[in-house]
């Protein structure tokens, strides 16, 4: 009896311990894949060279163009998702009757459940042609269209996390503000949003992290041309897209080209790891305590 209890507890512990093994595995895979790479390519070149052409005859290994592509699509996505998502969160909290809120929230959540490959298809075949109709010079592959689509995909993430943050601000603060003759808008921006600011910032950081790691939308609609640019109208390549591009090709295992995906992967991992932990830290440190 006692023994079987112990065995079961051990098995359960093992399952939990596997999660640590996964983290260790990720770090080990990224390091062991990229260390040989950094023996051949100096970290200085990797971080400073302005071109990324590992698959060409003339090989250059500067990660900056991929970082720029990632930054650009992410920035566009956040520029779309933050104002819209936050506005929706405020609207649902301060203005919307509760029945509307109950209907709208799940509808918006659908946006988050659609597979990203579907968004990629829509960005390439509908949004890009639509944008081209009034933005002359917009290339068939560009950062703008997948950036916008990614932003819309992320709206529910920002709106529901921010909404949670705002609705956890005590009702009494809202009443105090109304009691002095504030409009709903003043209550929202002068009282509720500042009081919920840490939660809102966390939602934005997580959204950024999500956009940085997003793959299929940009792989389909942003193009596969590493380019050190902030021009949203031309084709670019993100870190994630590059990994997909190499995976689809016939790069021999163990070659330098093969190892580039681990070097790119480690950069991606560092970005998202830093963002995620920043959000945990903010959440823990600045959690407003109300009784």
């Amino acid at each position: 009896m006692k023994a079987s209890e112990k065995i079961i507890e051990f098995l359960l512990w093992l399952a939990a311990a596997i999660t640590i093994l996964i983290t260790v595995g990720i770090i080990w895979v990224l390091l062991s894949g990229s260390l040989p790479f950094f023996q051949e390519v100096s970290i200085v070149e990797f971080l400073t060279a302005k071109q990324w052409t590992p698959l060409f005859a003339q090989k250059r290994f500067g990660i900056m163009p991929l970082v720029a592509g990632t930054f650009l699509t992410t920035a566009i996505a956040i520029a779309v998702a933050l104002p819209i998502g936050l506005t929706i969160a405020i609207y649902l909290n301060e203005y919307a009757p509760s029945r509307l809120k109950r209907t709208i929230k799940p509808l918006l959540e659908i946006l988050a459940t659609i597979p990203t490959v579907v968004y990629g298809f829509f960005a390439l075949t509908v949004v890009t042609p639509f944008l081209q109709s009034f933005i002359p010079g917009l290339a068939g592959f560009n950062a703008l269209s997948p950036g916008i689509v990614m932003g819309i995909m992320i709206i529910p993430m920002i709106s529901s996390l921010s909404e949670d943050a705002i609705s956890s601000v005590p009702k009494s603060l809202r009443e105090a503000s109304y009691g002095m003759g504030s409009t709903r808008l003043q209550t929202a921006f002068r009282v509720m949003v500042p009081a919920a600011s840490s939660g809102i910032i966390v939602s934005v950081i997580l959204a950024i992290s999500r956009a940085v790691g997003e793959t299929m939308i940009v792989a389909i609609a942003a193009g596969q041309q590493p380019r050190l640019t902030l021009n949203p109208l031309v084709p670019v390549e993100t870190i994630t897209t590059y990994i997909v591009q190499v995976s689809l090709g016939d790069v021999p295992h163990g070659s330098l080209e093969y190892r580039t995906i681990f070097a790119a992967g480690i950069v991606l991992f560092i970005f998202t790891f830093a963002l995620n932990n920043l959000s945990f830290w903010i959440k823990k440190k600045y959690q407003e305590k109300y009784d």
């Binding site: 009757p97 029945r99 009494s172 603060l173 009443e175 109304y178 009691g179 002095m180």
Partner: protein, 254 residues
């Protein structure tokens, strides 16, 4: 005591939360510069009724008010009345101290700032005046930029009173303002209410009968959404007309 003019008056007021009839045909008049206490058992509608005077219930889904509330003779539920203007005239202090998570100064000037007052000298002056009225000035004058959340509960509540006074309302609604405070802070708030009566018409909801007896000029007893009795406080506590009032103030229920 000479007869004072009527400041606030409710005429045939009914209110509903959806299908629930919360306030049943209430008529009451409150004179200028007096303190009226609303008493009654929990759930009797006294807080709901109080919130009708500054239309605080407007944002509650399914809440409906019928009848008239006259403030200086004007119906506050008339179509052309703007809620924000109304609430500048009818201030409110809540059950639990609810300072904003900002500095003491920012809390007091909040109401003026949202009205668009940006003159620094005017704001500072108003803050000082309000804090003095709320008997808090001496305790905080050196720390105006300190977070309001660092104050004690009693200080926070006086800050909330100062915040309400800063926009110079003429009526002050207080919803059990001392129920979350210790006896000393409660005594301070009660003292304050006495002083504020000189300038404001005060309505206070309380579940503490001694408090009602100490601070109010008239007392209204509510039961199951009805106004059972409204009379001079002294009369009410010594010689209630209704048997339900009698039962309540002698502690037989509630």
């Amino acid at each position: 005591m000479s007869k004072k003019p009527i400041k606030v008056e409710a005429k045939d007021v009914n209110a509903y939360y959806g299908d629930f009839h919360a306030i049943k045909g209430i008529n009451i008049a409150m004179e200028e510069n007096t303190v009226t206490a609303f008493i009654g058992p929990s759930g009797c509608g006294k807080s709901t009724f109080l919130r009708i005077f500054n239309r605080m219930n407007d944002y509650i889904d399914g809440f409906k008010t019928e009848g008239e509330i006259l403030l200086d003779g004007q119906n506050i539920y008339a179509k052309n009345v703007q809620v924000d203007e109304l609430r500048k005239k009818v201030g409110m202090v809540f059950q639990k101290p609810n300072p904003f998570p900002k500095s003491i100064y920012e809390n007091v000037v909040y109401g003026l700032k949202i009205q668009g007052v940006s003159n620094k000298a005017a704001l500072t002056e108003a803050a000082e005046r309000a804090l003095k009225q709320a008997a808090l000035w001496n305790e905080v004058k050196d720390n105006l930029n300190k977070s309001a959340l660092a104050l004690s509960g009693g200080q926070q509540q006086r800050l909330c009173i100062a915040r309400a006074l800063a926009i110079s309302p003429s009526v002050l609604l207080m919803d059990e303002p001392a129920s979350a405070l210790d006896p000393i802070s409660t005594a301070k708030i009660e003292e304050l209410i006495h002083e504020l009566k000189e300038q404001y018409t005060i309505v206070i909801v309380t579940h503490n009968m001694q408090q009602a007896a100490r601070v109010s000029d008239t007392t209204a007893f509510f039961y199951m959404g009805e106004l059972v009795e409204h009379a001079k406080t002294k009369t009410m506590f010594t010689n209630p007309k209704d048997s339900r009032t009698q039962d309540y103030i002698t502690g037989r229920f509630g």
